[in-house]
């Protein structure tokens, strides 16, 4: 057998850990290869298993950020037993990822909810550095003020582009926006929605209603991209778990043009 075994993970050092909330930490992992926002790695912890985690940040030739929510066996062990300097096994990157160049010119809207911000963080960063950054509108929603991720980025983004930060609900006295991300779509100050691009990532219901809102606003289906962040297992197109119709989310996605994904029914 000459071909390398794609199931064998490689070792990567934990360079830093950023604690956003008690349950959500970003692990900055040493990584030198090619990788794009929206791709994912399998975090592979012997005796615990593997978990697909999207890339939430890239420092070329140095590291990738993996923003991880402590919800399962693998992530639980990662939170409990791994610290800066330790070595974690990874496989990947997998999936197509975002082609950032599609969104850099002209008007663009990014709608991201909760952990859905991770896969588009690199996209938003790129948009914030464009010459016409004021034409980039980013709506980011979290469940509550305590659930916010990437607080430092949010501050930077608010300076560079049109950021709408909102929470589903908040304790009394909270001064920021309260409401679902969909609430802000109708009032987006767009010159020409028909040619604007959009990226939508988050929980299934949030994505569905956000896309509906964008279509109502006049967006073309072909100009909307969504990411199906879900139930990946092998990442290699073998295990079958990610299949929807004729598509394998781990190979053909997780980023899909809406004109394709609208027919991908469970």
């Amino acid at each position: 057998m000459s071909n390398a075994n794609p199931y064998v993970p490689f070792a990567s050092k934990v360079l830093a850990i950023v604690e956003h909330t008690e349950r959500e930490h970003t692990f900055v992992m040493a990584y030198e290869g090619d990788v794009k926002p929206g791709q994912f790695f399998e975090v592979s912890i012997p005796k615990y298993g593997e978990a697909p985690i999207s890339v939430s940040g890239i420092c070329p030739d140095v590291s990738v950020d993996l923003t991880i929510r402590n919800v399962g066996r693998v992530t639980g062990e990662l939170f409990a037993s791994f610290a800066v300097g330790d070595t974690v096994l990874l496989r990947g990157p997998y999936g197509n990822g975002f082609d950032v160049s599609l969104y850099e010119d002209g008007e663009c809207v990014v709608v991201a909810g909760g952990t859905g911000v991770s896969p588009v963080r690199g996209v938003i960063d790129a948009l914030s550095h464009t010459a016409d950054a004021k034409d980039k509108h980013v709506i980011v929603g979290f469940r509550s003020p305590g659930d916010m991720l990437f607080r430092d980025d949010l501050v930077r983004w608010a300076d560079a582009l049109d950021l709408i930060l909102t929470v589903d609900g908040a304790p009394e006295g909270y001064e920021g926006n309260i409401g679902l991300v969909t609430k802000y779509i109708p009032d987006l100050p767009l010159r020409d929605p028909a040619t604007a691009t959009a990226v939508v990532v988050g929980p299934p219901a949030m994505m569905r209603f956000s896309v509906m809102g964008l279509l109502q606003k006049g967006f073309a289906e072909e100009n909307i991209w969504v990411s199906q962040e879900r139930r990946m297992c092998c990442g290699l197109g073998k295990c079958g778990h990610c299949r929807i119709g004729e598509k394998y989310v781990c190979l053909d996605g997780p980023v899909f043009n809406y004109s394709v994904s609208k027919d991908m029914l469970d």
Partner: protein, 344 residues
């Protein structure tokens, strides 16, 4: 090249092959069947003709050899990940035309879906060759003729079938001809027998509109299907698996990573981290499986996944018929087409 052999002659040939190959063939297992005290035909390693069941359809396919129900991929010791060893001595698998077509589907998925080959599958597959069991007549529930899988594709080294109290064999691999010639009663022109018509006929719809997803035809399976997954375990073309890590010792220092057969019909298949599940009902799962077999796979790879072996129908404890379901699907698609025409 073809040969006519006596029972003893063919047995000698198999013994001869046994020096170089392991033989994997359908075997009648008494009392291990679907219900108490019934028999089952499943694959196992054999060394003589006596052990092989050639007159029945096997209840389970050969695929366990290539995709074991549970396969250890890695062993973990403290600080070390080691690829598990595997007995990969050469094997000849005795199978029928439909199952040889199924091999192409397994290869498609494990070796040619995406850019990566499945290393663990490949290391077994590289050592597997096939011998074709001829089918002079159809078994119950078979619909290979409908699926175009009744004639074996290339890829078998020899064929065998019972005839006139003896056996007729065609030999496609010239290197084996000497062995057959040595034990044959006579040379003959032998074409492996194949079925041209089955009692069960299936009509596969060409295109499937998305409106079919919500069609009421699936509802009966929500009522009837137990979601037991037997149909997918018996199917020669189902390939899904789940990774599973296990500990051996209490302190958790030693363990292994396995992959185990998974089924889209069983609870847990669509669980997502942090809660949530897709396709809860039997109807939704039947739809997912059936459309994969006769539509989605073709949309991706250009040919249907189902090879018409009928094992899913043979094995279902609720007597759910996949074949009947595909025919209902074809009818429903026709009806939807008419509705659309009528609207215009």
């Amino acid at each position: 090249m073809g040969y006519v052999l006596s029972r003893e002659g063919l047995d000698q040939v198999l013994q001869g092959l046994g020096t170089e190959y392991r033989l994997y063939a359908p075997v009648l297992k008494m009392g291990e069947g679907r219900f108490a005290d019934t028999d089952v035909v499943r694959y196992d390693f054999v060394t003589s003709l006596d052990q092989i069941e050639l007159s029945k359809k096997s209840d389970y396919a050969f695929k366990e050899l290539l995709t074991p129900l549970s396969e250890t991929l890695f062993f973990f010791t403290e600080g070390e990940v080691k690829v598990a060893d595997k007995d990969v001595r050469d094997v000849i698998v005795l199978l029928r035309a439909c199952d040889l077509h199924a091999v192409k589907r397994l290869d498609q998925m494990y070796l040619a879906n995406g850019t990566e080959k499945d290393w663990f599958y490949q290391r077994i597959r590289d050592h597997v060759r096939f011998a074709l069991i001829g089918c002079p007549s159809s078994f119950e529930n078979c619909f290979c003729a409908s699926m175009g899988t009744n004639v074996a594709p290339e890829g078998w080294v020899f064929s065998l079938e019972e005839a006139d109290g003896g056996y007729r064999c065609a030999v496609a691999d010239g290197t084996l001809a000497g062995l057959f010639a040595e034990h044959a009663d006579a040379e003959a022109d032998v074409e492996p027998a194949h079925v041209v018509e089955n009692d069960t006929k299936v009509r596969v719809p060409e295109n499937v509109p998305t409106a079919i997803y919500k069609h009421q035809m699936w509802d009966e399976y929500t009522v009837r299907c137990l979601k037991c997954g037997r149909c997918t375990i018996a199917c020669p073309t189902c390939t899904c698996y789940t990774m599973q890590d296990v500990f051996y010792t209490d302190n958790g220092r030693v363990g292994e990573r396995r992959r185990v057969a998974a089924s889209c019909m069983i609870d847990g298949y669509t669980d997502v981290a942090g809660g949530g599940q897709y396709r809860r009902t039997g109807g939704e799962r039947m739809r997912f499986k059936v459309l994969h077999k006769v539509h989605d796979f073709r949309a991706r790879f250009g040919y249907d996944m189902c090879v018409g072996c009928g094992r899913c129908d043979d094995i279902c404890p609720e007597y759910i018929s996949f074949a009947a379901c595909v025919n209902k699907l074809a009818d429903a698609v026709d009806a939807l087409g008419k509705e659309v025409d009528g609207d215009e």
